[in-house]
């Protein structure tokens, strides 16, 4: 078998990446759980027994039913209902969808901004570097919460709360994406600084390639591994940020609950018997963030050249 006929899949199966994945039980378990959650979230409209965003399906008489197995439960609501009578299972499926969408969306936005500014700052250096990194410093000194309060208030005032419900998810992606890009930009800049002194960059320069081509085609692929690691962790962070914002009432509206706003809506009841409204979505959130973090940890170990095949 020659290298030419080696398919991508075969190459992948021969790689150290796959090799170490197969041997790491934690990574496999985390990956399976994450895939399960992503699958459930993506196909939520097909899997969920009811549509929690459709107010006409809610009946107040069904409110605060406990999960199946406890006295007073109803088989139609396997995980019970919240204080307004929404089916908790459906709401959690939809809520996970919102959380994941915000997590991935925010990280894509962060990565786009972070990579662009990081590459420019690292490769061009000098004044560009100084300006971009100071902007990053300023950005980091605003807390996500404050940006969210300001943007949220402005958006709510201009569009009204009904419209706000429709654009809230994009607003959250924007807020979390914009407020956290310096994390990625700094990592990229550091890798670029190390890479740009290497011979292959000099070679490319001698060959007469333009700056953009060297930046994106030559240096960027060599800085990707730390980006992958940090992006995974950032997805978890973004999900947590969204949950925190929603818990404080700055995120998703109560009519379209995400995991965070679901936890909040049950908070009044946690000590008065109806613990499931907060506890179950809380557990889902913890599991989701935990598996993403575990995968991130594993990825960091694999991609660390010092530990390579060690």
């Amino acid at each position: 078998m020659t290298t030419a006929t080696l398919s991508r899949w075969d190459r992948f199966r021969d790689s150290f990446f796959w090799y170490s994945f197969k041997r790491d039980k934690v990574a496999i378990a985390s990956f399976l759980v994450l895939m399960l959650m992503v699958f459930a979230a993506v196909f939520a409209p097909l899997l969920a027994p009811t549509d929690p965003y459709d107010l006409t399906q809610i009946d107040i008489m069904n409110s605060e039913l406990p999960p199946v197995g406890l006295s007073g439960s109803d088989a139609a609501f396997p995980l019970g209902t919240d204080a307004q009578g929404r089916d908790l299972l459906s709401t959690i499926l939809y809520g996970t969808r919102v959380s994941l969408m915000i997590g991935f969306g925010a990280v894509v936005l962060q990565a786009a901004l972070g990579i662009l500014f990081g590459l420019l700052a690292g490769y061009l250096g000098g004044r560009v570097d100084a300006i971009l990194m100071r902007i990053a410093d300023v950005q980091l000194s605003f807390s996500t919460l404050m940006v969210a309060i300001i943007v949220g208030a402005v958006v709510k005032a201009t569009f009204g709360s009904l419209m706000f419900g429709e654009i809230a998810i994009y607003m959250l992606i924007f807020i979390i994406g914009v407020s956290e890009w310096p994390q990625i930009a700094r990592t990229v800049r550091a890798s670029v600084l190390a890479e740009k002194k290497k011979e292959y960059v000099d070679a490319a320069k001698v060959m007469g390639f333009g700056t953009p081509r060297i930046m994106f085609r030559h240096i960027l692929p060599n800085t990707l591994s730390p980006i992958f690691v940090i992006a995974t962790v950032q997805i978890a962070n973004a999900i947590i940020s969204e949950a925190a914002l929603s818990f404080l009432g700055l995120g998703m509206p109560e009519t379209q609950p995400s995991l965070g706003s679901l936890i909040k809506s049950g908070f009044d009841y946690i000590q008065s018997g109806s613990w499931w409204i907060t506890l179950i979505p809380g557990l889902v959130l913890v599991v989701l963030v935990l598996v993403i973090n575990l995968l991130g940890d594993w990825l960091r170990d694999v991609m660390n050249p010092r530990l390579y095949k060690g």
Binding site: L55, T56, I58, I60, M61, Q84, F267, D268, S272
Partner: protein, 520 residues
């Protein structure tokens, strides 16, 4: 040794003596309400919160007792002179916080200010004047014989006329009533009440100190200092009480009643309430609400029993009218009419089968579970294709919005100030008239002059059976017209530590007489 002992005992006795004297009012009460007073001007807003503040820092001429009788306060005695005149004798030697003495002049000043207050003038419309007889005697005169004269007099909290007269540095009259805030009276006060506001940070805390020269020396109250902290979150407020952070809380959320009842360090006091919670449908803002069929459809779509049973945990009585049982206007034939099929049918008949979109506003710290109720009603209305854009606000921001009639459906809770049905109609369903103050809280702009006339006739009717019949007819007609969407009468609950004896100072009006509160 003996000498030493006597010296010791002697010094103890000496040091104990002044302590025993001031032990009168040395207890400190830490309390948590769902919100703090919006302003210090008691005539700026007619609301439960303001009246609670009035009872702490002012005193009324007379006040309700627990069993709905009258108790003399600043008025020592009263007697009827003729059909339209009542003569009051003021207590002598009563001092305001500023040091001025209370005279009949202050009552006249207060009465005139009430007549000019947009919120209070409707209550005092039947009254024509306060006639001063001498320094401590005055007559309250009504236009026609008015059966509720004394009821209204419980809302006269004499203000310090000297303190509130004149102009501030920027040239505004000190007695100005400004609903947008910023008047002299909204920041300063001088009353005769048991407590003085020592420090106030809006939304954070209010500190009250006992007034040294308080006239009522017979009062058993021994609270020297009150710290009021607003805690909006139900769960947090209850936890603050159970963990010992505060001594007294109100309101107690229905979800936590059992938890409090089961705690051995805490007492729970509950009463069946008379405060009606309702939604008003603004006909000026929404063309469809002018159609009685649409209003009726909404009345059929709302499940009062569901809200009372589930959100209020049975801690409320589902309502189909405004007058609670026991009031003259209470019409026993009116029942909640939840029926979705009928509601959809009515929408179809009205030509709004596809529905429409409306805005809704509700407070989130004024009534028990107000925001959750609003959410539930929004969900119920979606069944008849009415899409609701809901906004819930803290009460400090809600009332200005309410005064502006800023949404198509607005929530309001009303407790009849005179403990009489007519008060509901006068404020909530009369044709709005800023001149007379009628319909001041009628955010639905419902207007039916015929019913208004009937209520006014009932107001001068002295035959109680006839009066009851008239008021019940009004209630019936309002029901048929679906003038508003009644939800329930909210029950009342307070909780305090065992050593704080709140029970004797509480009443169904929800005006705790904290001046008389005893802490053991």
């Amino acid at each position: 040794m003996k000498k030493l002992l006597t010296a010791f005992v002697g010094s103890m006795a000496l040091s104990a003596a002044p302590m025993a004297m001031s032990a009168e009012a040395t207890k400190e009460l830490k309390m948590a309400y769902d919100a703090d007073p919006v302003t210090l001007d008691i005539h700026e807003q007619l609301s439960g919160g303001m009246l609670q503040l009035s009872h702490m820092t002012f005193d009324p001429l007379l006040r309700w007792t627990k069993d709905l009788g009258f108790e003399a306060r600043l008025a020592e005695s009263w007697e009827r002179v003729d059909e339209t005149t009542m003569r009051f004798k003021l207590r002598e030697g009563v001092k305001f916080h500023s040091g001025n003495e209370l005279t009949a002049e202050d009552v006249k000043f207060t009465f005139e200010r009430l007549k000019s207050s947009p919120d209070y003038k409707a209550i005092f419309r039947p009254f024509t004047e306060v006639r001063i007889v001498d320094d401590h005697t005055f007559e309250l005169v009504t236009e026609k014989p008015y059966p509720l004269l004394l009821n209204a007099a419980t809302y006269i909290f004499p203000m310090d006329s000297e303190f509130y007269s004149g102009e501030t540095e920027d040239g505004k009259a000190k007695d100005l009533i400004d609903k947008k805030g910023g008047s002299f009276a909204s920041r300063n006060m001088s009353g005769t009440g048991p407590f003085v506001v020592a420090d106030r940070q809006q939304g954070v805390r209010v500190e009250f100190e006992r007034f040294d020269d308080y006239w009522d020396t017979e009062s058993p109250g021994n609270v020297g200092k009150i710290v009021l902290t607003p805690i909006k979150e139900n769960n947090t407020r209850v936890s603050a009480l159970l963990s010992g952070g505060v001594d007294y809380i109100a309101p107690v959320p229905p979800t936590d009643l059992d938890r409090i009842r089961n705690d051995k360090n805490v007492d729970l006091v509950t009463m069946t309430g008379t405060r009606i919670i309702m939604f008003q449908l603004n006909q000026e803002r929404v063309e469809a609400f002018k159609n009685p069929k649409v209003r009726e459809a909404i009345a059929y779509a709302v499940n009062q029993e569901g809200i009372a049973a589930k959100i209020m945990k049975g801690f409320a009585t589902p309502a189909a009218q405004m007058s609670p049982e026991g009031y003259q206007g209470h019409n026993p034939n009116l029942k909640p009419r939840y029926d979705i099929a009928k509601a959809q049918e009515l929408m179809k008949e009205a030509g709004y089968e596809d529905g429409f979109t409306i805005t809704m506003m509700a407070p989130n710290n004024r009534y028990v579970n107000d925001d959750k109720i609003a959410q539930a009603v929004a969900a119920m209305l979606s069944r008849i294709n009415i899409k609701v854009d809901l906004k819930t606000l803290p009460k400090a921001q809600y009332w200005p919005e309410f005064d502006d009639r800023a949404a198509d459906m607005m929530m309001i809770g009303w407790h009849a100030d005179t403990e009489d049905s007519a008060n509901f109609y006068e404020f909530l369903t009369f044709c709005p008239d800023s001149e007379t103050g009628a319909g001041q809280y009628n955010a639905g702009n419902y207007c039916n002059p015929e019913l208004d006339k009937l209520v006014e006739m009932a107001n001068v009717e002295t035959d109680l059976d006839k009066r009851a019949e008239m008021l019940q007819t009004v209630e019936q007609r309002l029901y048929e017209d679906a003038a508003f969407i009644p939800l329930h009468w909210q029950d009342l609950a307070w909780a305090a530590k065992k050593n704080v004896k709140i029970e004797p100072v509480l009443n169904v009006m929800n005006f705790p007489y904290l001046g008389d509160l005893v802490i053991e």
